[in-house]
């Protein structure tokens, strides 16, 4: 079982949260697009930001801005306190043991690249890297590059027709040659929640390192890295209601210690001479150059915001959105859902016979509805389902039942227009 325990939570057990009140925290939502109230259903690509996030960055620039870790003046101290305070918030959010296990990156993509490029140096020909068929390109390409450099082999866990990992396939592929398991917690296209905790336990039992792409998981449920027991975990701030331009690589301290630096420059060094440079300690070894300070502050504010919400209530609300969408989808002739896993977050990928996803996206936009269309940076997955792309509505906790209904009313209108 995953951490989404909504199936066992009943409405009566938790206070229903007031979605209209929540929406007031997100100023961008209260606008018209093409003459209609905006219905933002592209949260899987990037989520909107609560006012507290926007204001935290504003406040940082208005009062505290300076470079960090230089220590010569008051603003520098304040900026450092803000910045390191945000790191501590991430540590607490993930329940990591120490804040030095939290590395700032540009996002999930860079976080995975830090690990893949580092491990490429120790991989041997014939070693195996295990990924799944539902990975985002960010969790495929860095490993392909690592495999090419080291002579290691990329192995792919196949899927079933519902978009779940094929039962038993992972166990079959896992062997003494497996050095790394790099797996997404939640598929960005299908919404499938993978049983990563069990997979990690099995991978660890044979001595493999494990990396979890949690970019699509954290916006929907909390993750405890100690419970998961993964070696690395990556996520992006902007999908988690924080600013763009920053993300996190979590790594167990010993795993990060063993990993070579990713980039060279200032901040990541202990001592530089032309003969020999020694690396700074964790986390700074991986943070060359001046970091994204205001963005770290903004992410910290996003985590504060999430922590103040009733996350079980949110999960229930989101699952209700998903159920409604799945129900309404049955009433649209020619509509096929792609990804019908038993355990999934509120992401609905679909195709409609006779309509190209790009037509659907354009005509929904005319009705004020924002979705994503295309291959979603998961071309192997598109090949698996034999589609050029899909249309994807991805929900966040600030979406409403009415918005789900508006989506389907709009889709029916498009069908009337085109078919």
């Amino acid at each position: 079982m995953t951490q989404v325990a909504t199936a066992t939570i009943t409405q009566a057990m938790i206070t229903p949260f007031d979605v209209q009140k929540i929406r007031e925290d997100f100023p961008i939502l209260a606008q018209q697009v093409n003459g209609r109230p905006l219905v933002y259903l592209d949260n899987g690509a990037s989520a909107q930001k609560p006012l507290s996030v926007i204001e935290s960055m504003n406040r940082y620039y208005r009062t505290d801005n300076a470079n960090v870790h230089r220590g010569a003046h008051t603003l520098g101290d304040r900026a450092t306190a803000d910045f390191e305070g945000a790191r501590e918030k991430v540590r607490a959010f993930l329940n990591a043991r120490e804040s030095r296990e939290i590395i700032w990156t540009k996002g999930t993509t860079e976080a995975i690249n830090v690990v893949a490029s580092g491990l490429a140096q120790s991989l041997q020909p014939g070693d195996e890297i295990l990924v799944s068929h539902m990975e985002h390109h960010a969790n495929i390409v860095p490993w392909q590059m690592a495999a090419e450099r080291s002579g290691a082999v990329l192995k792919v866990i196949p899927l079933d027709e519902r978009g779940q990992l094929l039962e038993g396939a992972f166990e079959t592929l896992l062997s003494s040659r497996t050095k790394i398991l790099a797996i997404t917690y939640v598929s960005n296209v299908l919404g499938t929640i993978n049983p990563v905790r069990e997979m990690i336990a099995q991978a660890k039992a044979i001595g493999a390192l494990t990396l979890v792409d949690a970019a699509q998981a954290l916006p929907h449920f909390n993750v405890d890295v100690q419970q998961l027991n993964c070696d690395f975990l990556a996520f992006s701030s902007h999908k988690l209601f924080g600013p763009t331009g920053i993300g996190v690589l979590y790594g167990k301290a010993n795993c990060l210690e063993a990993l070579p630096p990713y980039q060279g420059g200032g901040e990541m060094i202990e001592r530089v001479t032309f003969a020999k440079t020694t690396w700074n300690e964790l986390p700074y070894k991986f943070e060359a150059g001046t970091p994204a300070i205001a963005e770290a502050v903004g992410l910290g504010a996003a985590l504060d915001y999430l922590n103040a919400l009733d996350r079980p209530a949110i999960e229930l609300h989101e699952q209700n959105l998903l159920k409604r969408a799945q129900l309404l989808a049955r009433e649209v002739p020619g509509m096929h859902l792609i990804g019908t896993a038993e355990q999934k977050v509120p992401v609905v990928s679909f195709k409609i016979e006779g309509l190209h996803p790009s037509d659907i996206g354009t005509l929904l936009d005319q009705q004020g509805i924002a979705i994503r269309t295309g291959h979603h940076c998961a071309m192997p997955l598109m090949d698996f389902f034999a589609v050029p792309g899909t249309a994807r509505a991805s929900f966040a906790f600030y979406n409403t039942q009415e918005e789900v209904e508006q989506l389907f009313t709009a889709l029916q209108k498009i069908q009337r227009m085109c078919c």
């Binding site: 093409n34 309509l355 190209h356 996803p357 790009s358 037509d359 354009t362 005509l363 005319q366 269309t373 295309g374 050029p388 792309g389 209108k413 227009m417 085109c418």
Partner: protein, 152 residues
């Protein structure tokens, strides 16, 4: 080129009996998005069939979210360029029809003199969706203009 294919090119109504002026005029009478898109989609449906055998990488227009193919035939006798475009997306096909109405069956010099941006700007709908989205309108136009330059 077979006679059959040649007939397909030369028989294309866009740029012949269906002109840009006519499209722009019709467009100016349509006032809501539904009518405008329905009209564009209808235009796309009037495109002549595209030969299956020409759906190859060489003819593929990159930079579109949908699949787009574009081929041309230069008629030595008349000095005119004939074009065929295909897409698997209805709106893109409709936009292709607008492009063809402006470019098809013209000499390369005439084609290059067409103010295609001006035409797009007169169609509110196209102005809306052309600049940033992956509909490939710009790629289509560039490819056609590139072909025309080769025959100048």
């Amino acid at each position: 080129m077979t006679q059959e294919q040649k007939a397909l090119f030369v028989g294309n109504e866009f740029g012949a009996s269906i002109t840009t002026d006519e499209i722009l005029e019709t467009f100016s009478f349509l006032d809501d998005w539904e009518e405008r898109y329905a009209y564009v989609i209808d235009l796309g449906k009037k495109l002549p069939p595209f030969p299956e055998s020409e759906k190859i990488e060489l003819n593929y227009v990159h930079g579109c979210q949908s699949q787009v193919w574009l081929i041309h035939y230069f008629d030595q006798d008349s000095g005119k360029m004939y074009l065929l475009i295909e897409s698997d997306a209805m709106i893109v096909k409709g936009l292709a029809a607008v492009v063809l109405a402006a470019f098809n069956a013209k000499t390369p010099q005439e084609l290059l003199a067409v103010d295609i941006e001006g035409i797009f700007n007169q169609m509110d709908l196209i102005r809306h969706i052309s600049p940033t989205r992956g509909n490939g309108l710009r790629s289509m136009v560039k490819k056609v203009q590139g072909m025309a330059r080769l025959h100048c």
